[in-house]
Point group: C2
Chain length 226, copies 2
DNA sequence: CGTGAGGTTGATCGCTTTCAACGGAGGTGG
DNA sequence: CCACCTCCGTTGAAAGCGATCAACCTCACG
């Protein structure tokens, strides 16, 4: 079965790399550096090679919504037509590979599997956004945070390790803007998860899951866990 | 330029109709009748021909999130892989055309433009979901509602009519579950919009926009409008 | 050692939810 | 034809959760 790019930990040769050929070239970004802005002409897709990127929209009054975090192997720029609909910037030091959209479209027209892989990448993105809508619309603060941490565990580690340790390259502000809450609420509920024994916070950027079952119960809002 | 299926008011011949050929067949649904459930095998896509469908997820404790409403011309079932990830049911009396996924994939492999149109349909869906994440995560109740109504205006009527009248085939519960709020809050803010002179409510299912500028200002949270 | 950014915690406020009552529309049966 | 019932929507009052405002802490860096 095809492995969605979202799951790949490292940027293995994706089918579009070959197509893009010489037109693909890499780009280094430091923390908080922008890759593109809303309104820029969307001529390129980007594949994250290293680090983490954030896609976000900003309201006129400054409110911000992080649409998604892109990890190595993820594709950035799907879901845009002529212009980009949102901003993209590096969460931490990162490296991306740019892919000409025109070349990719030509490749998709010529090689059916390129189109298929592309469609599968978009499908994976749609799926994760559907799940995130449920999180944004219907979950409480602690449920949001538990869900977010579990997602990182599954993406970074898999389901094997019973007490996994994950890195949070993004700031509390990024997390807050992803989950639709404030940094204070993120912080408070992080502490609450720690006090409940679900996680440990050796550093602010490091989360150790101490009780996976509890975290999962909290993420789904199973009562009795509180 | 290609017209996204989301914008088509009626189901004109989409490129996949030809491909699906004889395998496509229509299906009538009455209000609240289910088309498929989460976990069902996702062998078909559906194109809405008439009426409105809702795609929604349900949490174990009953909380519900409507992911999207599908209007005539919209495609249902994108973003799923083996099984459907959410439920789909008719909001009102509706008619859908089923399209075999296997046939569609074969068509995409053979005809580049089928693949391209499919990709464009998915891209349009991604775009609207990105916008909706901002709504769910960062907007207040009245902003959510104003944004929702404006979206319906643009979809049903376009930007021409200065005082358009739109139909709300869905119940307050559906709207609430789409916007991540309660039916009471929907109702209260609908009244507030009416009292502010932004809209009129001749019937509960009919909205007349009286002041488009105000509604737009409210949707973006421009102050001074309140 | 001073400075500033990022993070935590406390106190208070306010919006949305919750709980509750009421009203109208539509359907059914006497 | 009307009484009755149920579903849906509206409105009010009270409660609760997360936002806001504010103070303090930690750590990296010059």
């Amino acid at each position: 079965m095809y492995m969605s790019p979202r799951i790949c930990g490292t940027a293995t040769a994706a089918p579009w790399s070959n197509v893009a050929g010489k037109s693909a070239h890499e780009q280094n970004l430091c923390a908080h550096e922008a890759l593109f802005f809303e309104g820029d002409e969307a001529n390129y897709l980007y594949e994250v090679v290293e680090g983490v990127m954030s896609n976000h929209q900003i309201l006129p009054d400054g409110r911000r919504q992080v649409i998604s975090f892109a990890y190595p192997g993820d594709l950035i720029g799907l879901g845009h037509t002529k212009d980009y609909h949102f901003n993209c910037e590096a969460v931490c030091r990162a490296r991306v590979r740019s892919i000409s959209k025109a070349a990719l479209m030509r490749g998709a027209a010529e090689h059916a599997d390129v189109g298929r892989h592309l469609l599968e990448a978009v499908t994976a993105e749609l799926t994760s956004m559907q799940e995130h809508q449920l999180v944004l619309g219907r979950k409480s603060a602690i449920e949001k945070l538990a869900t977010f941490l579990l997602g990182l565990v599954r993406r970074q580690i898999g389901d094997f390790d019973p007490t996994p340790v994950i890195q949070l390259p993004m700031t509390r502000t990024d997390i807050a803007d992803f989950l639709g809450m404030t940094i204070e609420t993120v912080s408070r509920n992080m502490s609450k998860l720690r006090m409940m024994g679900a996680i440990d916070l050796p550093q602010t950027t490091t989360v150790m899951v101490r009780n996976m079952k509890l975290l999962e119960a909290l993420a789904d809002g199973d009562d009795g866990a509180c």
